[in-house]
Amino acid sequence: MRTRGSVVVVTGASSGIGRATALRFATAGATVALTARRAAALQEVAVECEGFGATVFMVPADITDEEAVRQVADKVAERFGRIDVWVNCAAVTAFAPFGEIPLSDFRRILEVNVMGYVHGARAALPHLRDQGKGVLINVSSIVSSVPQPYTHAYSMSKAAVRVLGASLRQELRLDGATGVKVCTVLPATIDTPFFEHAANYTGRKAKAMPPVYSAERVARTVVGLVRRPRREVIVGPMGRNLVMQAKLAPGLTERMMAIQVDRSHLYRSRPAPATDGNLFQPAAGTGSVSGGWHGRRRTAVRRAASAALVSGAILLVRRSARTRAAE
């Protein structure tokens, strides 16, 4: 399916991956409908998208409200006549020892991350099926298969999203709706404000666990899926490695990730007060794509480093070949 001229709905468009995705669709010439809790943030994103020459439509909503999500779909369909792509992106998380997180926080995370996506799918699919074609993209995470301590609700919800996608694909096939595609995106650690907005009861400030990839990378993948839908895509080479490792040596991965997360996902020298983050109230401000974890810079550094390694290796091979030729 072509992106130019498609009508795309992006949830969680106020910050992070959602925002980057909306911007990317805008540059690709799509018509972008934005939804999130913060109207002011949506306004900012809308202005940026319009700057790329795209048509923009804003509908502030909380995705846990089923009625509100249906309204979003209805309004978009009414305005543009159809919905071509629905991207479920809005998600929240909490870092907490299992016994410390208030159960209301736990339920809220499942409500937003699972039911929010369900509401989105329920609202979008009728439109996609009536049209006979369309793409539903669910942003999950590698934590759905690579376990992590302290983020139980989030990990549970991302695993749920993955399975939701698979089930929907099966059902659509049985119903003969071959033109409607459901894709799941599994990003590794992404440079977004996700970590500082998270609820936190560990007493330690959270940070992005390296390696950190840029949100634009995920956005490119999502846009690419519209052209060529795939069942599941992992974003970030480290993510692919970890998922593979988790399949081959699950016990070892569990133990390794436990130590890794305790060491580098939470600061060892920066305490943080107990907070419920943006679970119940959206974060202050008008949002941003990056969280300041320098995903782009780190990617550049990693690329330079691997390029250096590769060229070094090539030089070595050349030199030994020449030496052998001389003998």
Partner: protein, 453 residues
């Protein structure tokens, strides 16, 4: 063994409770307290360190804070039992005639040394690394540390945890760490066993109890936040910042003009120096059961008994035919019971180097029989806290009260109080005092009948 080594790593080396245990344990083994028992006593090294430029010196205090603090992920391993294990492993098998239990105090240390008694501290200090909060933002610091403070309290049901935050005296340390004082309200299995096994039959448990309290704010079960502590500022200065504080803050280059501490919701024993009377219940039970005597040494402020102990030493020296005309004024943890006895000096302990301590010394000197020699040593906390008294003032006090010689010893006047070499320098300075006397047999607890309850 391994666990008590971890406990030793978690304890803060400049804490009063830790230093009292270390100094006393080493004294009982015939060693001194050079370098706070973890470093060296070296004047050249101290001078080298003190000659660094002021920025480097100031930064070395903050660096110490970062190093002493344990990473936040290790907080779950803080164990009061492991610390008790460490304390009892410092001392020999005994049997001891007297064991001192309770709050830290230099005067009590000298008394314990005289009695050859081990000391079991009620309060010990651990520090967690904290590079995030600002010293002048008490509410921010309190909230950021609350999950950790509550975690430590939950893991250790026999203690009350006090998160103590003092931007006046502890400022350089606060830049890198947060103070958690663990105060026992139950004696615990390990201390109980120590008393039952290593105190001689019919022996005495001497409880040192300081009644000083301080306003605090409850942050959880057995978890409290205390803003400020004993020093050059009063409780009111801390909780109602005035021009003096504004002045201090602007001098330190702080973005804040005043402190906004959380509303206190009660008064509790002061975190570092105060005695929690809840411990008495267990002590009474153990002493009654084992047939020990329980005596008490009580005071309102930690240095109230300094004069008393000085007089005890003085009359003890005189009974042994010595003159008792030399006074050694020690401050904070720069104490050394071995050198005090070796040089035949009467010890007078000052809690710190501040105005109230100066006045306390003055009061003692006014009331006591004049001394021929008066030597004063001062602790350096790394900044000009409000209320710090200058070296020249201390020297003047010593000179005007001593009939023969009065001086400040072991202090680098140029770098004081931002002198990281202070802890390296104090013991060589004590050792440089002329005159040596043999170490005496222990004092009998009966000799203190007039002093104890």
């Amino acid at each position: 063994m391994k666990l008590s080594a971890r406990a030793a790593r978690y304890l803060v080396d400049f804490d009063s409770g830790v230093n009292m245990v270390r100094a006393l344990a080493r004294f009982l083994r015939g060693k001194d307290h050079r370098g706070l028992s973890v470093g060296v006593g070296s004047r050249p090294l101290a001078n080298l360190v003190s000659s660094l430029p002021i920025r480097a010196r100031r930064r070395s205090f903050s660096a110490q804070g970062v190093l002493q603090g344990i990473p936040l992920d290790q907080a779950r391993h803080i164990s009061a039992d492991e610390m008790s294990e460490w304390v009892v492993s410092q001392y020999g098998p005994g049997p001891h005639q007297v064991v001192v239990v309770g709050c830290a105090s230099g005067a009590a240390l000298h008394l314990a040394a005289a009695l050859h008694a081990p000391f079991l501290p009620q309060t010990l200090l651990v520090a967690v690394r904290d590079l995030e909060t600002h010293p002048d933002d008490p509410v921010g610091a309190m909230e950021a540390l609350t999950p950790t403070t509550r975690l430590v309290a939950r893991s250790n049901p026999e203690i009350n945890v006090y998160h103590m935050h003092d931007p006046a005296q502890d400022r350089p340390m606060l830049e890198g760490m947060a103070y958690l004082r663990l105060k026992r309200h139950r004696l615990g299995r390990i201390f109980e066993r120590f008393l039952e096994e290593r105190l001689a039959p019919g022996g005495t448990v001497l409880v040192v109890a300081c009644r000083r309290t301080w306003p605090c704010h409850t942050i959880g079960e057995r978890a409290y936040f205390q803003f400020g502590c004993l020093g050059g500022l009063s409780e009111d200065d801390y909780h109602n910042s005035g021009p003096r504080i504004a002045d201090y803050l602007s001098r330190e280059g702080s973005p804040y003009q005043r402190w906004e501490p959380p509303m206190p919701d009660g008064r509790r024993p002061e975190a570092e120096w105060g005695f929690d009377p809840a411990l008495l219940a267990d002590l009474e039970l153990v002493t009654a059961r084992a047939g020990y005597q329980l005596r008490r040494l009580e005071m309102d402020e930690p240095q109230d008994i300094s004069g008393l102990v000085a007089e005890v030493y003085r009359s003890w020296y005189r009974r042994r035919g010595m003159s008792g005309q030399r006074l050694l004024v020690e401050s904070y943890v720069q104490w050394d019971p071995l050198w005090v006895l070796r040089t035949g000096a009467v010890p007078f302990w000052c809690r710190f180097n501040m105005q109230p301590d100066y006045q306390e010394l003055q009061r003692y000197l006014d009331s006591a029989e004049p001394y021929e020699e008066i030597f004063v040593n001062l602790f350096s906390q790394g900044l000009w806290s409000p209320g710090v008294v200058s070296v020249s003032q201390w020297r003047q006090l010593a000179i005007s009260n001593a009939t023969v010689v009065g001086d400040v010893i072991g202090v680098d006047e140029d770098s004081y109080p931002i002198d990281p070499g202070s802890t390296l320098r104090f013991q060589p300075a004590f050792a440089a005092i002329t005159g040596r006397h043999p170490l005496p047999a222990p004092l009998d607890i009966a000799d203190l009948d007039g002093v104890l309850t």
